[in-house]
Amino acid sequence: METNINVGEPEKKLTAKDFASDVDVKWCPGCGDYSILAQVQRTSPDFGEKIENIVWVSGIGCSSRFPYYMNTYGFHTIHGRAAAIATGVKLANPKLQVWVATGDGDMLSIGGNHFIHACRKNVNLKVLMFNNRIYGLTKGQYSPTSEKGKVTKSSPYGTVDWPFNAIKLATSSGATFVARSLDRDTKHLQEMITRASKHKGLAFIEIYQNCPIFNDGAFSSLTEKETKSDNVILLEHGKPLVFGANKDKGIKLDGFNPVIIDLNDGVHSINDCFVHDEFDENPTRVFLLARFTDLPGFPAPIGVFRQYHKTTYDDDYAKQIETVKAQKGIGTYEKLMLSNNMWEVK
């Protein structure tokens, strides 16, 4: 089997505290970002990297303050450019483990081009996109993931835009690890982050994040106890797609279309359900699952949509350099200035 896991041995076991910087965290009270930060700090000791080899890069937005709160190397850059700067960091020093903290506006709107190209190249970056479906830092305009018709400060009559589906976008752009989680589901989020840290290649996690100030409750049906089980479906490798408080609902395929089935209707059984395979290279499965959030009545999938192996940009680049060095020998100044149009003046 191909191994697609980063290997690295830390010297001593670190704890969450070792990853917390001494800067006061300044998100609004109740912001979902707090939980994401906590889960990252909790899982960081398991990344298998020394603190000094971890770099957090971000763009602009509430989410992008993230690097300041991590006691690692960090770079809070400019709007939309996190993926481009992170690519430079990783390419220039492939030994570093490079993480990107970004938001729906930062990554999918102003930074869309850098995002799709980082995915296409499969740069070995771990991208956490905090999706709150709103512009928080600029105080409440709609974002590229806001639902159509959403009333915001910049859309008083409702938006007329169709939103992006980030999972589809990342998948079709070439990301090799694509997952979704929830700010409030701490265990699940920790698992997703840890798995991303072990993936070699571009890992993308869309994290549904509540913004209590400008878009409160955007995901409450997915996070509140009473409604959660009917509205969230957990993707687990090799397991059939079932959901509902009593695990009494399932998803089966009708041709290429998913349909919700009642597992207690006497007609259907768990054997009819679609079985998840996160290692399936064929992206069709991802598009099928990612569509659930576009279909009324369907539960939102969380978990790993797909993880597969493809060589990474930074690795292939480093290898090419080594190959050319082996062929031509290490470059020297004398060799550099040699040319076939040289002449001597005595």
């Binding site: 800067v23 006691n71 990783k90 060095k325 005595k346």
Partner: protein, 613 residues
């Protein structure tokens, strides 16, 4: 018939034809041969923005001008002595530039009704007497090439493509140059295509023999080697020289070279050149856009690379926000801007010096950077090393300005010894004790602590940072301190750069002040007016921000300052506003470099048209 050989000091030739006729290649082959024979050279390629404009059209004419000499020259020559015109359009476009009595070699086979119409000729200029002022040599280039290539197994179309080498062969004969340098080049180029190789070699030899045997050429010319300082030379274009300079700076500093770049005319060759040097560990990241080009370089600078981004005017505009981030985070970065005619897409393949004020003031907020400008194709090598040295030593973004004329033009570079080049001594911060991200040394330079260094974990960013400590600070007084620090740090670069040197009297009536690629034409103009008995001094700026520290004093030592620029007066604006000294402007906005004569006339006009004798 006995043919005479006449020795001449200097010759300017221009090859012109369709963009598909291979004129750039023909010109550069002649250049290499002249250079290897020891001539001083200056070249000026001139081609349309379209890769293949319609064949035979005026818009599709591509030209390559070459000046070669037995004395020291600085320009590609004002007006050609010889024009090789592959078709009527090439003749039409270039005729006005020629010297009186110039020689015109034309491919008569291309002067058919269709091509004449495309070139807007009502009558055939070869027959209507309109060229009587020139020494016209009519050659059936197409037909002669076809005949020469009989028996070679190639299509008519492929054979036709060899006619530029027939023309080159004639020129080699005419200027007494051997053909073997081009032969060798062909052999390496077409190693895998024996028929193409044989055809081109044959066409070249046939052209040479044609000069030797036909009656139409009576005289050959010889240009002796120039008396250049002893050393090893190679011919370089400005873009090539810049690439070599950056790699040299990487070797000098011991830092890996990282280029983040997006293809743009006329800067793409820097990306292409550098991508060849994987054996030097050079990383060239061909980014998804201009912004990613600079951003990836900033990321690389953060990790301790020598980080470069290359572009032209429109790309520089796109990079400006990120350049502000590099100013704020005080990371070393070189931005090389190969200027072209603007605004907008403007004249992509033509030259201009109109990005100086963009480089100076194009960013939001108070965001000073160091600005340098190369003066000649070979100087692009030195200024690239210098830009890297300053960026790394002062942890500051440096914009290096070149332009299309320097980028595509070429001249001999005397290869310096590695030891002769300035040292670039870099120390990363590793001690934990007393480390703060914005702690400054005596030059206000902050420490460079790169990821991977234990104990120095810190966060950079675009938000204003607290002096010394580097945490986010919105304090009013701190912001002012930091702005002044960033400005002072750039000004401190003055300590590192040489005083401005004046060629000629150190004070007097007239100082001609230049920057960038106007150096060559001005230097030759000054030499010419001196020969005519006029007196003027010349100073050339390679450092534009900060200026050399003696510039103000120098300006005060002259009654008049003449400032030729390929813009509407951008350096003039900076000089006036910095030194409250008025200047006389000479501006040209035609996408072409100054001719020597244009500057010469202006100097004489400013001096009152009399040499005082």
């Amino acid at each position: 018939m006995e043919k005479t050989v006449q020795v001449v000091e200097d010759v300017t030739v221009r090859f012109a034809g369709d963009s598909g006729d291979g004129m750039q290649l023909t010109g550069s082959q002649f250049t290499d041969t002249a250079a290897i024979l020891g001539n001083d050279i200056g070249t000026l390629p001139d081609f349309p923005a379209e890769i293949r404009a319609p064949a035979g059209s005026l818009a599709g004419v591509s030209g390559y001008q070459l000046h070669f000499s037995s004395s020291d020259i600085q320009t590609p020559g004002d007006s050609p002595d010889v024009l090789v015109a592959m078709n009527p359009a090439a003749l039409k476009v270039n005729l006005k530039d020629l010297k009186p009595n110039a020689t015109v070699i034309v491919n008569t086979n291309a002067f058919d009704a269709k091509n004449l119409r495309l070139a807007n000729y009502d009558t055939n200029p070869l027959e209507d007497g309109s060229l009587s002022a020139y020494n016209v040599i009519s050659v059936e280039l197409t037909k002669l090439t076809m005949t020469a290539l009989e028996g070679i197994d190639l299509s008519i179309k492929d054979k036709d493509k060899c006619k530029n080498f027939f023309a080159l062969g004639i020129m080699y004969w005419m200027y007494n140059r051997p053909i073997d340098i081009t032969d060798k080049w062909l052999e390496s180029k077409f190693k895998k295509k024996p028929e193409v190789l044989a055809a081109n070699k044959k066409a070249l030899q046939a052209g040479y023999n044609y000069g030797e045997t036909t009656e139409i050429f009576t005289t050959r010319y010889d240009v002796k080697p120039a008396k250049l300082p002893a050393g090893t030379y190679r011919n370089v274009s400005g873009n090539e020289a810049a690439a070599l300079g950056f790699i040299t700076a990487s070797l000098k500093s011991g830092l890996p070279l990282f280029l983040g770049s997006y293809p743009i005319t006329p800067a793409s060759e820097i990306l292409q050149e550098l991508s060849k040097y994987k054996d030097y560990g050079v990383i060239t990241f061909q980014a998804e856009d201009e912004i990613s080009g600079i951003c990836s370089a900033i990321g690389a600078a953060f990790t301790g690379s020598l980080a470069i981004t290359s572009t032209s005017g429109p790309g520089l505009s796109l990079k400006m926000e990120a350049a502000g981030l590099a100013v704020m985070t005080e990371l070393p970065l070189v931005i090389i801007d190969v200027q072209r005619g603007g605004p907008s897409t403007g004249l992509p393949t033509k030259t201009e010096q109109a990005d100086l004020l963009q480089a100076m003031y194009g960013r939001h907020g108070e965001a000073p950077v160091v600005i340098l400008a190369a003066q000649s194709p070979a100087d692009c090598f030195y200024m690239s090393v210098e830009a890297a040295r300053i960026a790394l030593k002062y942890m500051v973004p440096v914009i290096l300005l070149t332009d299309g004329y320097l980028a595509f033009g070429s001249e001999p570079l005397k290869i310096p010894k590695f030891e002769e080049l300035p040292e670039i001594d870099i120390k990363f911060r590793t001690e934990k004790e007393g480390y703060y991200p914005y702690l400054r040394d005596e030059n206000l330079v902050r420490p460079w602590a790169v990821p991977g260094t234990p104990g120095l974990e810190h966060r950079l960013g675009g938000l204003e940072k607290k002096d010394v400590y580097g945490y986010i600070s919105y304090e009013a007084a701190n912001h002012e301190i930091m702005i002044k620090n960033r400005k002072q740090k750039v000004d401190n670069v003055q300590k590192l750069i040489p005083d401005l040197r004046v060629d000629g009297d150190q004070q007097g009536e007239l100082l001609v002040l230049t920057w960038g690629s106007t150096y060559g034409a001005t230097t030759e103009a000054i030499n010419n007016i001196r020969k005519k008995g006029f007196k003027a001094s010349h100073a050339h700026l390679r450092y534009l921000n900060p200026f050399p520290k003696n510039l103000g004093e120098l300006l005060g030592s002259f009654k008049k300052i003449l400032l030729p620029e390929l813009n509407t007066g951008q350096l003039a604006f900076l000089v006036r506003s910095t030194f409250l000294k008025d200047v006389i402007q000479l501006n040209k906005l035609q996408g072409q470099p100054f001719k020597v004569a244009e500057i010469e006339h202006k100097i004489i006009e400013v001096l009152g048209g009399s040499n005082g004798n």
